[in-house]
């Protein structure tokens, strides 16, 4: 029983292996990059625009509004990172309708890499907004006794991000594989639909959690009532 696309080996030369994870990740990157490049070749600002441009505008403005709702004040700085996280995980899950495809997020390597990107991005954006001293001072809030707990919480939520996404994707594919050996006719289709739903939810969760962590790191300590105002408005 295959636990992850790491074990699908397409080509091997000594220590270098081309396994399913690498192949499908590069395939997804290719589709996202080339697709966006083709769609954004002739952008039009009038009311008459191509449907693909319309689709991209819906997606981009939707993500921008979500980032703003979380509390990040200039969503354009963060939409590159957070939007890419969402689109990659969502497309990785959507493509399970293609036969022979295994989502690369079903391998702990991919999800650990994505979680490490978030782990590096949080202090990056925090230092960019608040300066090195300001960001480091946030670790000793509210008292200096909380310093080890703040550090541990940073590490544990990165681990939780990786294992949550990996567990959800891996369980989806494994349930499907097991059901295909037991009742191969109709029931696997429902489980496949459920897997699609959880994949999209997990993509949303991953990017929203990354946005929340970045918002916590970049929020300046003096203007705390802002999230409450956002909810009232």
């Amino acid at each position: 029983m295959r636990l992850s696309p790491d074990e699908m080996i397409f080509w091997q030369h000594g220590l270098i292996k081309l396994n399913g994870t690498i192949l499908f990740t590069w395939g997804l990157m290719f589709v996202l990059a080339v697709g966006s490049k083709l769609i954004t070749r002739n952008l039009s600002t009038e009311l008459q625009r191509s449907r693909w441009q319309n689709l991209l505008e819906i997606i981009v403005t939707g993500i921008e509004k979500q980032i703003e709702d979380v509390g990040l004040r200039q969503p354009k700085t963060y939409i590159g990172f957070l939007g890419t996280l969402f689109l990659f995980v969502a497309l990785a899950s959507l493509c399970t309708v293609i036969p022979g495809y295994e989502p690369p997020t079903g391998s702990l390597s991919t999800t650990a890499a994505l979680a490490l990107c978030v782990f590096v991005a949080v202090p990056f954006f925090g230092i960019e907004q608040q300066g090195l001293g300001g960001y480091l001072k946030s670790y000793i809030e509210p008292t200096i006794i909380m310093l080890p707990f703040n550090i541990i919480s940073e590490l544990s939520r990165t681990l939780a991000l990786a294992v949550r996404l990996f567990g959800n994707m891996m369980s989806g594919t494994m349930i499907l594989a097991i059901l295909l050996t037991i009742t191969p006719f109709i029931f696997p289709i429902f489980m496949s639909a459920l897997g699609l739903l959880t994949g999209m939810v997990q993509a949303y969760i991953f990017s929203i959690l990354a946005a929340v962590y970045i918002a916590a790191a970049t929020r300046s300590r003096k203007s705390k009532p802002e999230p409450a105002q956002a909810i009232k408005a």
């Binding site: 636990l3 709702d69 959800n168 891996m170 494994m174 969760i205």
Partner: protein
């Protein structure tokens, strides 16, 4: 009972118990969360988007506990280091 049988029994029983006991807590927690979210939606329908988004984030955090139990169970069944070690020993003999 030699060590190979003992490891097999322990792994299988633990894998079953892990996922069985580990799903009780998150299921109860998620039911409570959705019930509270529904009642607050009924009280304040204008805050629907905020409530829905917070509900989903909270459900994902609760679900992660069940996912951790599932991952441990899968490791015990499919990637068990003790079983692999004992099998390698038996094959080497």
């Amino acid at each position: 009972m030699d060590s190979m049988t003992l490891i097999a029994i322990a792994s299988i029983v633990t894998a079953g118990l892990t996922i069985a006991l580990g799903s009780i807590g998150p299921a109860l927690g998620e039911g409570h969360a959705v019930a509270t979210a529904l009642s607050s939606l009924a009280q304040q329908p204008d805050a629907a988007t905020t409530i829905t988004r917070t509900l989903f984030v909270g459900l994902a955090m609760i679900e992660s506990i069940a996912i951790y139990c599932f991952v441990v169970s899968m490791i015990l069944i499919f990637a068990n280091p003790f079983w692999n070690h004992v099998i390698a020993q038996a094959a080497g003999k």
